[in-house]
């Protein structure tokens, strides 16, 4: 059993954006959009003095991904190896999943008219390579690998890693962070995920329209079944008019 994941050491990130550039080049991400991002935090002051750093974001490949639940066609699904992917042949680009991801990890690709996101460079993985952001990082702050395999680079850094979660969003992210307490407080305050949002039409479809239509279909089927058995009980006239 494989579960791919990543551990990012925020104390080592220098904010060079090499990972972002590598990803954009690798996957031809359009201008203004991104599959991963680096955001400066601070400078600010706490009890110990001045503090600044960088927050590194990407798809968290959650254990209980809200985007998978939100997708009407199952174009977004979780592979057996834990990677959450978008099947472009099936995605209709409705963007319900974009709003459902509390980490903001998805965007609508205007050229493709599909939703796009980080997939841990699944094509590179298939060739036995690591994701582009991992191999490009100049400070080696990204540790990628099979979280189930204690020998993997990610597993070796798993011990003190933290999950970026909140009371509203406990989705079990498989991208984790290494950070000192004071850095983590800063990151958590700024980037803790809000509750996943289901758009109004998606909510109406799930909660109102679906039960309503199922009821209508059931009632119509039951109605004609009752009528049919009533007809069988009466029998047919020997002469048809």
């Amino acid at each position: 059993m494989t579960t791919y994941g990543m551990v990012i050491d925020l104390e080592r990130c220098v904010g060079c954006h090499a990972c972002v550039a590598a990803c954009k080049v690798q996957w031809e991400v359009p201008a203004g959009e991104s599959r991963d991002w680096v955001v400066p935090i601070g400078p600010t002051k706490d009890a110990e003095g001045l503090l600044s750093g960088f927050y590194v974001g990407l798809c968290m490949h959650c254990e209980r991904p809200s985007c998978v639940e939100a997708c009407p066609t199952k174009a977004t699904y979780k592979r057996d190896d834990g990677i959450v992917v978008v099947d472009r042949a099936l995605c209709i680009g409705c963007g319900i999943c974009v709003g459902a991801c509390p980490y903001g990890a998805r965007y609508h690709h205007a050229g493709l008219r599909k939703v796009d996101k980080c997939d841990f460079c699944q094509e590179r993985l298939a060739r036995g390579e690591e994701p582009a952001c991992v191999t490009t990082c100049i400070t080696s702050c990204r540790h990628f690998g099979d979280l189930e395999n204690p020998e993997s680079d990610a597993s070796r850094h798993l011990a003190h890693s933290r999950r970026l979660e909140s009371a509203e969003a406990r989705l079990g992210p498989n991208v984790r962070y290494l950070a000192k307490d004071r850095t983590w407080r800063l990151v958590h305050d700024a980037f803790a995920p809000p509750a996943p949002e289901l758009s109004t039409p998606a909510w109406l479809l799930q909660k109102i329209a679906r039960p309503l239509i199922l009821l209508a279909i059931g009632a119509a089927f039951a109605g004609q079944a009752i009528a049919f058995f009533s007809q069988l009980r009466r029998g047919e006239h020997p002469i048809e008019e």
């Binding site: 066609t73 039409p201 239509i213 119509a220 089927f221 048809e240």
Partner: protein, 272 residues
């Protein structure tokens, strides 16, 4: 006003009259309507089968999970199911547009204005039909070429078809912002689901219920026995008889206006 026999549905016909009417077939549907009906039925079967597999998310699906697996085994992948669904939808829309544009006056406008607007008799028919199915004795009020149930379903189908085409086009080509596509999914589902729910009643009433069976056969032959028209669609039957009487008068005038001695006149062409 042509002179037609006044037969009211509440007057019981004697056996000879009934047999005479039963032997005569009168035209109910044009060929174009019959072809469109069965084309529509085939496309709907395909679209419902593929659509049920496409709406696969756990919070959305109305077909059981195995249905998606079965359709994937038929078409190879869910992506292919989407392609088939969209392609069939485009073919369907194209045919409906051709029908609607070239047959606008002859078929579409006539159907919408004459056949789909319900009157009080239609509403009474719906109530009485329900009681009849449940075994309570009721007299059905006289109906036009389509009865109250067919009209009700016809309205749902016409409105639903417009919604399905519009929302399907938006989704297939991702027209407009994401919110428009999301609302399109909802209305596409509601329209298709509403029509699908009515389909059970439509198929039962049209193909299984013995009293309406001539209507089912008429979707192949275009014709129904006159007795069926008299008993089930009395208002239409009267209209038909008026049209028939007018046609006979017209024919008689034509024959009278032609010189009887003309060697190539209609009289000369008559069968012995």
């Amino acid at each position: 006003m042509p002179n037609i026999p006044v037969l009211e549905p509440h007057i019981t016909l004697d056996a000879d009259e009934q047999e005479a009417l039963q032997q005569r077939l009168i035209k109910k549907h044009d060929t174009a309507v019959i072809l469109l009906h069965w084309f529509n039925a085939c496309i709907w079967a395909l679209e419902l089968a593929t659509g049920g597999a496409l709406l696969a998310g756990d919070g959305y699906r109305i077909a059981p999970a195995w249905w998606r697996d079965f359709m994937i085994s038929v078409f190879g992948s869910q992506g292919m199911i989407l392609k088939v669904h969209v392609t069939a939808g485009i073919i369907w829309t194209t045919v409906l547009l051709v029908y609607g544009i070239f047959g606008f006056r002859k078929y579409l406008l006539r159907t919408v204005t004459n056949y789909l607007v319900p009157d009080r008799d239609d509403l009474r028919w719906l109530r009485s039909r329900l009681f009849l199915i449940l075994g309570r004795p009721e007299t059905l009020p006289p109906q036009g070429i389509y009865n109250g149930g067919q009209k009700l379903y016809g309205i749902v189908v016409y409105l639903g078809t417009a919604v399905i085409i519009l929302t399907g086009f938006i989704m297939a080509h991702h027209i407009g912002p994401n919110w428009l596509v999301q609302w399109s999914i909802l209305f596409h589902f509601l329209a298709a689901g509403g029509i699908f729910a009515g389909l059970f009643v439509h198929v039962y009433m049209g193909a299984v219920l013995p009293e309406e069976r001539p209507a089912f056969y008429s979707m192949f032959t275009g014709k129904v026995p006159e007795l069926y028209a008299y008993k089930h669609h009395y208002k239409w039957w009267r209209q038909y008889k008026e049209t028939e009487a007018e046609w006979r008068e017209e024919l008689a005038r034509e024959v009278e206006s032609k010189p009887s001695s003309a060697p190539d006149g209609p009289a000369a062409k008559e069968d012995p």
